[in-house]
C-alpha cells in the first residue's frame, strides 16, 4: 500500500543522495583546479534542469488520478452509494451511521461544531488510509471505497485541545 511505496522510494532516493554526498566529500581529498570543476557544472546543471522539470510535470499529471477530491473520485470510483454525516466537536465524533458496506463508494460529509479537527481513517492494521479536515462552517466531502471488512478507527488529526489525542471513534465495514 502507499506507505510501503513511500518508505521504499524514500529509502532509495535517500540512499542515492547520501552516496552522492559521500562521493563529493571523499573527492575533496584529490584537489583539482577550480577552473576545471567549474567547466563541468553548467553542463550538469542544464541536464538536471531538463530532467527535474520533466519529472515535476510528469509527477503532477500522474498525481491527478489519485486526487482525493470529490470531482475526481466520482469519476474514478463512481457515485457514492451511501452518504454519512460526520460532526467533529471537542472531543467526540458523531456519525449519522457507523456501519458501511465493503467495495462501494461512501461519501463522508465532514464538518465541525467548534474548532478545526482532522478526520483520519485508520484500517484494522493501523495504517492511515484517508483523511480530510473538519472545519466549522464548511463541509468537506471525502469519497472512499473500503476494500476489506473490519473495524476501522477514526482519529482526530488536527490539534483541537488537550484531549485531542483521545478523540477517536470506530467505523465497521461489513460484507454486503
Amino acid at each position: 500500500m502507499i506507505q510501503i511505496l513511500l518508505m521504499v522510494s524514500f529509502g532509495i532516493l535517500g540512499a542515492i543522495w547520501t552516496a552522492i554526498w559521500v562521493w563529493v566529500l571523499v573527492s575533496a581529498r584529490h584537489p583539482a583546479p577550480q577552473v576545471q570543476v567549474e567547466a563541468e557544472v553548467p553542463i550538469l546543471r542544464r541536464r538536471l534542469l531538463y530532467i527535474s522539470m520533466a519529472l515535476v510535470v510528469a509527477i503532477f499529471l500522474v498525481s491527478i488520478y489519485w486526487l482525493p477530491y470529490a470531482f475526481i473520485r466520482r469519476g474514478v470510483d463512481g457515485q457514492p452509494v451511501i452518504k454519512i454525516q460526520v460532526l467533529g466537536q471537542q472531543w467526540v465524533w458523531t456519525f449519522s451511521q457507523t456501519e458501511v458496506p465493503v467495495n462501494v463508494p461512501v461519501e463522508f460529509d465532514v464538518t465541525s461544531g467548534d474548532v478545526n479537527h482532522g478526520f483520519g481513517i485508520y484500517d484494522p492494521e493501523g495504517h492511515l488510509i484517508a483523511q480530510t479536515q473538519a472545519m466549522p462552517g464548511y463541509t468537506n466531502r471525502l469519497i472512499f471505497t473500503f476494500e476489506q471488512p473490519g473495524d476501522y478507527i477514526v482519529r482526530c488529526l488536527e490539534l483541537c485541545g488537550t484531549p485531542h489525542f483521545l478523540m477517536a471513534s470506530h467505523i465497521t465495514v461489513v460484507k454486503q
Partner: protein, 490 residues
C-alpha cells in the same frame, strides 16, 4: 567600507541568544520525545504547553541565529543601521518573553500555529487573555523581523545603488552580458531577496494577527476559519522558509572559507534568487490539501509550485555547494563538517518534503510524524547546521582559539544524532503515527525510543560544542575590531 565592531557584537548577541534558545527549546523537545516513548509520564496539558513553546521558540531561534550570521557576513561590505538592529534584538527578546509567560503562566497549549478558532475556544484550558498574549508576542516577533529586513534592505540597496542593482536585474535580463559593475555579492543578493519577501511576509502576518486582537476586544465577530487558515499557513510557510534562505546567505559565505575557492555571483544564482522572490509565496497551498473546500486552483498551484521550487534549490544551492566542495582539498574542521551536514540535511529533508507535497501521498502523511520529520531535518540539519558553522568559525577567529579533534568528533556526532533523530520521525510518519499526540500507543513507541537515544548523541555533541562556544564568547566579544578579508566570505 570598514568593518564595524558594533555590528559584529550585535551579530554575536543574536547568534548566542538564538543558540541558547535552541538549547532550551531542544530540552523541551526532548521531554516531549521522552513522554511519547513512554519513558516519562506527565500531564497532557503540560505536554501541549511544552509543544507550543518548543515550536514558537525554535522558529524564533532559527531566525535569530541565522540573522546574526548574515549580519556579520554583510559587515564591512554593506552599511547596516545599528539602531535598527539593536531595536530588532530588544523587541524580539521582549516578544519571546511574552510568549514564554503566556504559555508557562497562562497555560496556552494550542500549538505554535495557534490555529483559529482553537486559541479562543479552549473550553477552560487557558484564557483568551493568555491566547492574546501569545498573539502579541508573535506580533512583536514580526516587528523585530521587519526591522532586521529594513536594515538589510537599506544596506544592500545603499551598497548597490538601487533596488534594481541590488537584485542584479540588469545582469539577469541581459543573461549576464551587462550589469557586472557593482554586482551584489551572493550574501548581499540573498539578504535583498529575504528582506523584500520578509516585508511582504510581515504584511501577511498583520492580516492574520490584527483581526485576532479586534475579535478579542469585541470589535469584530468571528472570522472565516478557511480564510484565517490560508493567511496563517502563508505567513508560517514564509517565515520558516525565510529562515532557511537567511541561512543560505551564511552558507554562501562559508563555502569559500572552508574550500579556499572563490564563489562569485553567477547568472544561475541571480536567476534562482530572483525566482525565489516570487515563487516562495506560491507553495503554501500544500498545507491545505486536506481542506477539500479550498479553491482547487490554490491546491494545484501549491502542488506544482512545491515541486517547482525545489528546482532552484537543487540546481543552485545544493549543486553549487557540492561543486564548490568537489575536489577542493577541503580539510575537515567543525565548520566544514557542519556545512557538509547541512547540505546533506537540506536535500534529505527536501526529498521528504517533495514526497509529502504530492497530494495523493499527503492523504496519508498529512498531520502524521512525517511532517515534523521533514521540517526537523531542514532545521536541525540545514538552517541550524549552517548557522552554527558560521558562529563557531567566527567565535574561534575572534577569540584566537582553535578546535581539537574532540571538537570535530562532536560535529560528526551532531550529524549522527540529528540524522537518527529525524529518520525516526519519518519512520513513525510512514507508520501512520499521528503528530501532536501527547501520548503514543505502545505499538508506536519503538521509533520514539530509538529517537531518544539519538537525541542523547545530539545532546553530547551540543554539550561539547556549546561549551567551547560559551567559554570563548567573552574573548570573541572583545576580539579584534577587523576581521581578515577572507573570513568575511567575500
Amino acid at each position: 567600507m570598514d568593518h564595524n565592531i558594533e555590528v559584529t557584537r550585535i551579530a554575536l548577541l543574536n547568534m548566542i541568544t538564538g543558540f541558547v534558545m535552541f538549547l532550551g527549546m531542544g530540552l523541551l523537545g526532548y521531554a516531549m520525545r521522552l513522554e511519547q516513548a513512554g519513558f516519562w509520564n506527565f500531564d497532557p496539558s503540560t505536554f501541549y504547553e511544552i509543544m507550543t513553546l518548543h515550536g514558537a521558540g525554535m522558529v524564533t531561534a532559527a531566525l535569530i541565529v541565522a540573522a546574526g550570521g548574515l549580519i556579520e557576513v554583510l559587515n564591512g561590505s554593506t552599511p547596516l543601521n545599528t539602531r535598527l538592529l539593536w531595536t530588532a534584538y530588544v523587541v524580539g527578546s521582549l516578544a519571546f518573553a511574552i510568549v514564554l509567560l503566556a504559555v508557562l503562566v497562562g497555560g496556552v497549549g494550542a500549538g505554535w500555529t495557534m490555529l483559529y478558532p482553537l486559541p479562543y475556544h479552549s473550553l477552560g484550558e487557558w484564557t483568551i487573555t493568555a491566547a492574546v498574549a501569545v498573539y502579541v508576542g508573535y506580533f512583536l516577533t514580526a516587528i523585530a523581523f521587519l526591522l532586521n529586513c529594513i536594515a538589510f534592505l537599506r544596506g544592500t540597496v545603499s551598497a548597490a545603488g538601487t533596488l534594481r542593482k541590488a537584485l542584479a536585474f540588469e545582469y539577469l535580463f541581459s543573461f549576464g552580458r551587462s550589469g557586472t559593475d557593482r554586482l551584489p555579492s551572493p550574501a548581499q543578493l540573498v539578504a535583498t531577496v529575504v528582506s523584500f519577501d520578509g516585508v511582504a511576509t510581515v504584511v501577511v502576518g498583520c492580516v492574520w494577527l490584527i483581526p485576532r486582537f479586534l475579535q478579542a476586544g469585541g470589535l469584530i465577530g468571528s472570522t472565516d476559519p478557511l480564510f484565517v487558515k490560508n493567511i496563517l499557513v502563508l505567513y508560517g510557510h514564509m517565515i520558516t522558509n525565510l529562515a532557511m534562505y537567511t541561512a543560505l546567505g551564511v552558507l554562501l559565505a562559508m563555502l569559500p572559507i572552508i574550500t579556499g575557492r572563490e564563489l562569485k555571483t553567477s547568472l544561475p544564482l541571480v536567476v534562482a534568487l530572483n525566482l525565489v522572490l516570487f515563487v516562495l509565496f506560491l507553495p503554501f497551498g500544500h498545507h491545505l490539501y486536506q481542506d477539500f473546500v479550498e479553491p482547487k486552483v490554490l491546491l494545484f498551484l501549491g502542488e506544482f509550485a512545491s515541486f517547482a521550487s525545489t528546482v532552484p534549490v537543487l540546481l543552485v544551492a545544493i549543486l553549487g555547494g557540492l561543486s564548490t566542495i568537489y575536489r577542493s582539498g577541503m580539510k575537515w574542521s567543525v565548520p566544514s563538517i557542519l556545512i557538509s551536514l547541512g547540505l546533506w540535511g537540506w536535500a534529505f529533508g527536501g526529498i521528504a518534503g517533495f514526497m509529502d507535497a504530492a497530494i495523493p501521498i499527503n492523504q496519508v502523511t498529512h498531520n502524521t510524524m512525517w511532517v515534523p520529520g521533514h521540517f526537523h531535518t531542514y532545521y536541525v540539519l540545514g538552517v541550524l547546521a549552517f548557522a552554527f558553522a558560521y558562529m563557531y568559525y567566527l567565535i574561534n577567529e575572534r577569540s584566537g582559539q582553535h578546535e581539537t579533534i574532540f571538537s570535530r568528533i562532536a560535529a560528526w556526532l551532531y550529524g549522527i544524532g540529528g540524522a537518527g533523530f529525524v529518520i525516526m520521525f519519518l519512520l513513525s510518519g510512514a507508520l501512520s503515527v499521528p503528530r501532536r499526540y501527547a501520548e503514543h500507543d505502545p505499538t508506536w513507541r519503538l521509533p520514539d525510543q530509538i529517537s531518544v537515544a539519538f537525541v542523547g548523541v545530539l545532546a553530547l555533541a551540543l554539550l561539547w560544542l556549546g561549551g567551547e562556544i560559551f567559554l570563548r564568547f567573552r574573548r570573541a566579544w572583545s576580539g579584534p575590531s577587523a576581521m581578515p578579508q577572507a573570513s568575511q566570505g567575500r
